[in-house]
Amino acid sequence: MLEIRWHSRAGQGAVTGAKGLADVISTTGKHVQAFAFYGSAKRGAAMTAYNRVDDKVIMNHEKYMEPDYVFVIDPALVFTSDVTINAKESTKYIITTHLSTEELQKAQPKLEGKEVYTVDCIKIAQETIGRAIPNTPMLGAFMRVSEMYDIEFFKENMKRILAKLPQKIVDANMIAIQRAYDEVK
């Protein structure tokens, strides 16, 4: 079982990102689950989304999770919420920030000694898609860190998932995914 927790703000696309990732993984024959905690969250409120991946049908519907990966797609959430909650020793963090990994760990001591990767998904999204929607770049970074799939395979599938969007936006997302893949450290 692979488990992922997303930290996001409502409106940044964590749910779409989690569902998109689940869709891609599902095409390879694995079983997936993607869900979120919304409450009556308003746009901008901190929220979490989740992925589970397994070789067998996923029966577990508890919200409690000890994630293998933590994705943070809004830079401030590292400081305003506890992104290390219920984490394991081995949990890997991929965090959107303009800081380097070392600077981030100094600014947020809870991340010291953890396996932390950083990438500025907000900047990438703004420069490619034209809006601060950091969900697809985060998945590009995840492909690099996890080596789950070949990036071209992943992009092809994301094209299918994003197909209802205008071609220009789809193309921009592909560039964003590739940039985050290349830039994550």
């Binding site: 919304y38 009556s40 577990n60 519907h61 409690y64």
Partner: protein, 407 residues
Amino acid sequence: MAFDKMELRDIEVWDGNFAAAQALRQAQVDVVAAYPITPSTPIVEGYAKFKSDNYVEGEFVMVESEHAAMSGCIGAAAAGGRVATATSSQGFALMVETLYQAAGMRLPIVLNVVNRALAAPLNVNGDHSDMYLGRDSGWIQFDAYCPQEAYDLNFIAFKVSEDHDVRIPAVVNQDGFMTSHTAQGVHTLTDDDAYGFVGTYKPMNDMLDFEHPVTHGVQTEEDWHFEHKARQHNDMMTIVPGKIEEAFAAFEKLTGRKYNKVECYDMDDADVAVVCMGTSVETAREVAKEMREEGIKAGVVGIRVLRPFPFFEIAKALKDVKAVAALDRSAPGGAAGMLFNEIAGSLFNTDSKMLLSGYIYGLGGRDLTKAHLVDLYKELQANADAGKVLTKQQQFIGVRGPKLAYL
């Protein structure tokens, strides 16, 4: 007017809401009258989108309330069309008056209830308060534990509800958020297979058949009211169970997916068992397997059909079990939980020596964790070992503050 068919992959990653919306499309529902409410809104929104994109031939009626939504459904069903809608929580509560009308008028309507807590305090998350509110409304009631089942049970609900020997509306329940907003792999039917299973709608006593005028919604006082209610109950008790089994069998033949009025998991040799509904059934299945590795013979019983209540199937499933927990996800309001009472009723007057204890859990979406269920199975095993219920008969799982226990 012709409509377009949709190519689906064998497995689509859908949440429970979208799965239900796709089922309404594939059943080619004629009329959806709806009013939006979290977390059920995407079902009717999905149907509306399919209609505007020409994937369905039907009418979407926007109304001013859930009371009006079900009233619109009643009118359309009486007129002679295939009808469905969706609601949750407060909307369901507002709909209740018309639910009794729909059932009493013997109108086949499929209502997706995306289960959510009832205010006050206001809460949009999943529990079974709305399901319990409607349990005596005279509707057939199915319960889905995951998006796949929310999809499948919609087809089965149309098939049973619209049968001319039944003509009783049907609810398909799914857990708010835990199913409705959780995306999982769903094995799809082709449009042709899905429609072929449900079949072309065959009206009966329809108001638009001007050659055979009929009256719907009549008044009967003490002279006939009781006979109407009693005979309708008779059909629920004697005809509907068999029709549900027929539909389950036909669906298994088509898809290989087998449903039962009572779902039994690891029950053949179980000493201890949890009885519950919704997503909790699946989480409990996983925990039961893990308990067996620790030497506790644990099983799970899921209620698939809440109405007509599977009295004898429950008795059969639990007759040899030593200790059973009834898990109710609704505030009991001064009584034992509904499942506790129904199970007690099913096993009373039998030879069973089952020890029954009731638990209230998960209100307002409170998480039911695997750790909770591990503790629960251990408590049941202790009861089984002692030969008596060692705790109060009604307890709470996962609530903070001083321990609450009664009865």
